[in-house]
Symmetry: C2
Subunit: 213 residues, 2 copies
DNA sequence: GAAGGTATCAACAGGGTGTCGAGTCGTGTC
DNA sequence: GACACGACTCGACACCCTGTTGATACCTTC
């Protein structure tokens, strides 16, 4: 339940003249992404999305169950993109800690910066939508797992000193990234500038994991 | 505009028989705090608050402009309490870094844990209410200022190595605390246990500020 | 040319918000 | 002891938003 395959819409005559079906779906997605550029999710109604896509409000519900569902779909694509750009930077931490760490954090930073409006809306909708909350959790957990594993092996090979539990350390660092990037993208008042934020995060990660450097 | 003095309600005959005035106000505040114990802010309506306080919905608006305003008032008290418990731990960082840091972080932890429902609701309402967002910002800024100053003097006296800008470091660390404590209190999935969270945060702060320890 | 999935929307039901205006009830004043 | 006034209350209203229903139109495909 709640997977993300909007491509269950099969069988359309090749080169269909004026396809309507998932053009509309795309239009809705595009409309949300566009509207989010200049107002927050809670200020956008289903009617706004429907109008933007050139359909009536009831028709909207033919395509999506709610505006959160639209966001979920948008978000899914971004996450896929993020996973792609991230690669195995963290797994190869040992190769060159500062560089690999920077690479991993930079991937996140760039992905979310490229879609900051959707990212911020996702954070907002987490409070309302259980589905979005679950998706977010899954992503964070995966990231924490990966980091915790990397920390453990750095400790095992003697490159990193021991200290608090690797998983707890990983969780705190990942949470930090989430929140720090959020404030930076949202531009709210205590926040780190976009040009410095990656450096700052990398510096803290290095010190937290390796002690001095 | 938007200060927090609900005590503008003066002149009431001494020992008034069945005082109604700010008893109601207190009742509304108490009702919100109580209802927040078992459902999130967005699932509580003005009507719920009014009924809980034994008045009609329109009467509610005599006391508060919105449910966010009630939360704002509740939040204000908690912050005052927090400021009190926190003391000057950070200013005296140099006396005994691990102990002072722990003290400062612990104060935050305990204050917010004691009112976790209100705290979580505050985070939720930030997306909706500009006033709450502003209040939250002010608190974070004050905390960042204090930490940034402390880091700078530790660096000046040679106790801490230099590195990324003190203010950026302070911002990231404070953001980390905010988010980590939030996930811990909310109990959502990647989170640090309540028993360990202070240790983990202190460990990261120490490493981030002082390098090894 | 009938069947069946695809797609559309007017109209409705329901719940939330915030406001208005008419009222009640004490209290201090002359 | 009438009266005015501020504190307080609420029924009724205007609005906005959500999500559903049922009638309908449009393709295709056989």
């Amino acid at each position: 339940m709640a997977a993300s395959s909007p491509s269950a819409r099969a069988s359309r005559g090749r080169r269909a003249p004026r396809a309507t079906g998932d053009d509309r779906e795309r239009a809705i997605l595009a409309t949300l992404e566009e509207l989010l550029e200049d107002r927050p999710l809670h200020a956008i109604s289903v009617d706004d999305l429907a109008r933007g896509a050139g359909i009536s409000r009831p028709s909207f519900y033919f395509y999506f169950a709610s505006k959160e569902a639209v966001l979920l779909s948008l978000f899914d694509r971004i996450l896929a993109e993020g996973r792609a750009g991230q690669g195995d930077a963290i797994e190869r931490l040992a190769d060159d800690p500062p560089a690999q760490l920077r690479q991993g954090i930079l991937a996140f930073f760039e992905t979310f910066r490229a879609h900051r409006a959707v990212t911020l809306a996702g954070a907002e909708a987490r409070t309302t939508s259980a589905e979005l909350r679950a998706m977010w959790s899954r992503v964070m957990e995966a990231w924490v797992d990966e980091v915790a594993t990397a920390i453990s092996s750095e400790r095992a090979r003697g490159a990193a000193p021991s200290g608090v539990a690797a998983r707890d350390l990983a969780t705190a660092l990942v949470c930090m990234n989430e929140r720090v990037l959020h404030t930076t993208f949202a531009g709210d008042s205590p926040s780190v500038g976009e040009d410095d934020v990656v450096d700052v995060l990398v510096a803290i990660w290095l010190r937290a994991i390796y002690g001095d450097a």
